[in-house]
């Protein structure tokens, strides 16, 4: 079966073009995508050894990096308690708390973006056509081309202790002392929501744009209230777009590094920052790789579970 496929493939494309296609795709899939991920997975099961000892007899597989994520370093006083029952299992409270906080915050940011973008996507897709619609699209795209770092920086200017909001509020007399938005993580959530807004709008917009307007008109003529039109017609139709946007925003938010580094409060950490620390100041690459694997794995499981829940196929993402 495979043999005939390749034969047909070369028949269709000719030798030169066929070779180019196969080589380029093979390079991409094998060298760029699959092998590095496998390599990282393998690396995460290794001890942190100096380069001279790598490949030597000490270079064996270990679970220690994953154990560290769950149990913490040796002598960790924290013990896992399940529903109030204290167990003897050591428990890496700090890292796991950061991990769940990251996931929860990513879910929150995703929901926020969805709520903010759905009305606009609907408006753009159904009502705004012609020049005004194009101007709105243009306005949407402009912030996206500005560097991620600069966008985060803009939020620092706005939310900082001497930032615009505080200066105005204190100046008008509403506040006596400035609010520390950065410490309260308000700036972080606003910045994260902002960063991937566009990735939420466009999939939903694309889906809603192809919805036949007559369906909405028909529902309205039959006396359906606006919320039922959305609930029964628009949202089911736009579901692939919604799931696609939510998936991208969730994955990118959970994996964001720049915004938490710039906008995060002094006491708050994002999980990617812990990974970053293991690689840089921590100097323990295998452990960083293990943490990265944990992040990737949980995110994928979460997204697949959501897709199963909402009955959307992978092939519909990215369209």
């Amino acid at each position: 079966m495979k043999g005939t496929f390749f034969k047909e493939f070369f028949n269709r494309n000719g030798p030169l073009l066929g070779t180019y296609l196969l080589l380029a795709v093979a390079f991409w899939i094998i060298i760029l995508i699959v092998l590095p991920q496998l390599s990282m997975l393998d690396y995460s099961f290794r001890f942190n050894l100096p380069p001279s000892a790598q490949g030597g007899e000490k270079d064996v597989y270990t679970m220690s990096n994953y154990q560290h994520f769950f149990n913490g370093s040796e002598g960790n006083p924290e013990r896992l308690s399940i529903f109030g029952y204290q167990t003897d299992i050591p428990f890496n409270k700090v890292d796991i708390a950061v991990f769940f906080k990251t996931i929860l915050a990513a879910i929150f940011v995703t929901a926020f973006d969805l709520a903010l973008c759905y009305p606009l996507a609907y408006f753009l897709g159904q009502s705004a056509s012609g020049p005004s619609g194009r101007v709105l699209l243009l306005l949407l795209i402009i912030p996206y081309w500005v560097n991620e770092i600069l966008r985060a920086f803009a939020f620092r200017i706005i939310f900082g202790a001497t930032g615009v909001i505080n200066t105005v509020l204190v100046g008008v007399g509403i506040l006596d002392t400035p609010i520390d938005f950065i410490r309260e993580n308000v700036a972080l959530y606003a910045g994260l929501g902002y960063a991937y807004l566009l990735l939420m709008i466009f999939p939903i917009y694309n889906a809603i744009e192809s919805l036949d307007r007559n369906q909405i008109e028909a529902a309205r003529d039959l006396g359906s209230p606006w919320w039922r039109i959305h609930w029964r017609i628009v949202i089911p139709f736009a579901k692939p777009g919604i799931v696609s946007g939510c998936t991208m925003v969730f994955m990118l938010t959970a994996g964001a590094l720049a915004a938490p580094q710039i906008l995060g409060g002094p006491s708050s950490l994002w999980f990617t920052q812990i990974i970053y620390q293991w690689f840089n100041t921590g100097g323990n690459w295998p452990r960083g790789a293990a943490y990265a694997v944990v992040l990737l794995f949980i995110c994928i499981v979460f997204v697949l579970a959501m897709m199963r829940l909402f009955k959307v196929k992978m092939g519909e993402i990215g369209k």
Binding site: N13, L17, P143, V168, I275, F279, G315
Partner: protein
């Protein structure tokens, strides 16, 4: 469509909120680029200045970063477009049962966190290097090489999506016709398929370059000795900043708007010409006829206005000197400081008087120069405490400024009280614009 006026009002409010969330941060950042405090602030406004643009131009780390970003960007564009094109073409031909799996694999890099891509690239090529027995300084460990490879992994997926969208509208019969008429496969590809894909190639290349230019998560693990612009910016933002970064943002936004307007204008022009019955080939050529082109083409009009405004600003910046305004602001600050010193002295004197009334005061020192009471009410407008409680006083930006101004009279107390006086604001900005 009948529309309830209430819904219209809500829609308008919603649009305003949405777009102020979207564009407000950029506008505010833009304002800080022209304000003189050395810590980026939009309010209070002090002096109009263009110095942050020259600070930016003289920042050689930023300039090196831009150069590295361009090298990485060009490399990534070439690789990603080649790979993305192949990926899209294979997707159209692949055995149907394999299709879903293949699509999942090649779309995955978009969803994998950038951090993970950076780490896996770093680990894999490090091991590859060790496996091949190369030194640490080898090509495979070069920061630019690793960054290009790491970014290409997921930017190829973007490019592929662009090509897939275009290929969906391709009539496969065209290629078959070319082959039937005796063209070789390469000829059919080069003369039929490629010209059809040219627009998609352009979009994919632009998309790839921009994605590469602004990438941080992957690059931060792979850049090695060649920090790109984004890395430099992140380091600057984290360890002390001045508005030259805002100036950079202003430049980037301006270029983006110009590019978008130019693109929009061309599209409008083509659409108009085609609507008037002109063949499409006649439109794509150059030949600018300004007045006709401007008629009924809002994008062109805005573009022209922006260009004129930009040139005007540059000319104005050549002639404009914010020095006078700055001296003015400094003077205001000094005056406010003096005022507060006087007030404090006044209070001290009153206290000592009260103590005298209570009894003999041995601590009263003759050296303390008494201030004539007539001077005290000279500024009834401001409170006794001046602006001590203004949070801006503690601002690090102003703190940096202290050494270079002559007000070393009392370095401890807030040297810069008066800036926040709304009266000063008017004066200084009035002076600024009048020049």
């Amino acid at each position: 469509m009948r529309q309830n006026p209430l819904i219209k009002v809500f829609l308008a409010i919603y649009l305003v909120i949405f777009f102020s969330y979207l564009l407000g941060p950029l506008v505010i950042m833009g304002i800080t680029a022209f304000n003189s405090p050395s810590f980026p602030k939009a309010a209070p406004w002090e002096c109009l200045t263009f110095e942050w643009f020259s600070v930016l131009a003289n920042d050689h780390r930023i300039m090196t970063g831009i150069r590295n970003s361009f090298i990485v960007g060009i490399g990534t564009v070439i690789l990603s477009v080649i790979i993305g094109l192949a990926g899209a073409l294979v997707l159209t031909q692949i055995w149907p049962k394999l299709r879903a799996t293949y699509y999942t694999i090649v779309i995955a890099p978009i969803l994998i966190p950038g951090v993970v891509l950076g780490i896996s690239t770093l680990v894999f090529w490090g091991r590859m290097n060790a496996f091949l027995g190369l030194s640490d300084e080898s090509f495979l460990q070069n920061g630019i090489f690793l960054t290009i490879i790491g970014q290409t992994t997921f930017i190829s997926s973007y490019c592929m999506l662009v090509f897939v969208a275009r290929l969906q509208r391709f009539d496969q019969g065209l290629t078959e016709a070319a082959l039937d008429l005796g063209a070789t496969h390469v000829q059919a590809f080069r003369k039929v398929m490629l010209p059809f894909l040219y627009p998609a190639m352009g979009s994919a290349a632009v998309l790839a370059f921009l994605a590469s230019f602004e990438n941080y998560n992957t690059t931060t693990f792979t850049f090695g000795k060649y920090p790109t612009l984004t890395i430099e910016l992140a380091q600057k933002v984290r360890y002390g900043i001045n508005p030259s970064i805002s100036a950079l943002a202003v430049i980037i936004v301006t270029i983006t708007i110009l590019g978008a307007l130019f693109y929009e204008m061309r599209k409008r022009r083509e659409a108009m010409a085609i609507a008037n019955g002109a063949p499409a080939s006649a439109v794509s050529g150059g030949g600018f006829k300004l007045p006709k082109m401007l008629a009924g083409n809002p994008a062109a009009i805005i573009l022209a206005l922006v260009l004129i405004g930009g040139i005007g600003t540059v000319l104005f910046a050549q002639a404009y000197n914010p020095q006078a305004c700055k001296v003015e602001v400094r003077e205001e600050k000094r005056k406010a400081t003096d005022k507060r010193i006087q007030e404090l002295q006044e209070k001290a004197k009153q206290r000592s008087l009260q103590e005298k009334l209570k009894g003999p005061d041995i601590f009263n020192q003759p050296a303390q120069s008494p201030v004539p009471p007539a001077q005290a009410p000279s500024n009834p407008g401001s409170g006794t405490f001046g602006d001590v409680f203004n949070p801006g006083n503690l601002d690090e930006g102003d703190a940096k400024k202290t050494p270079d101004k002559g007000s070393s009279l009392n370095p401890g107390s807030g040297t810069f009280g008066g800036v926040f006086n709304p009266k000063n604001l008017n004066e200084s900005s009035g002076k600024g614009t009048s020049q």
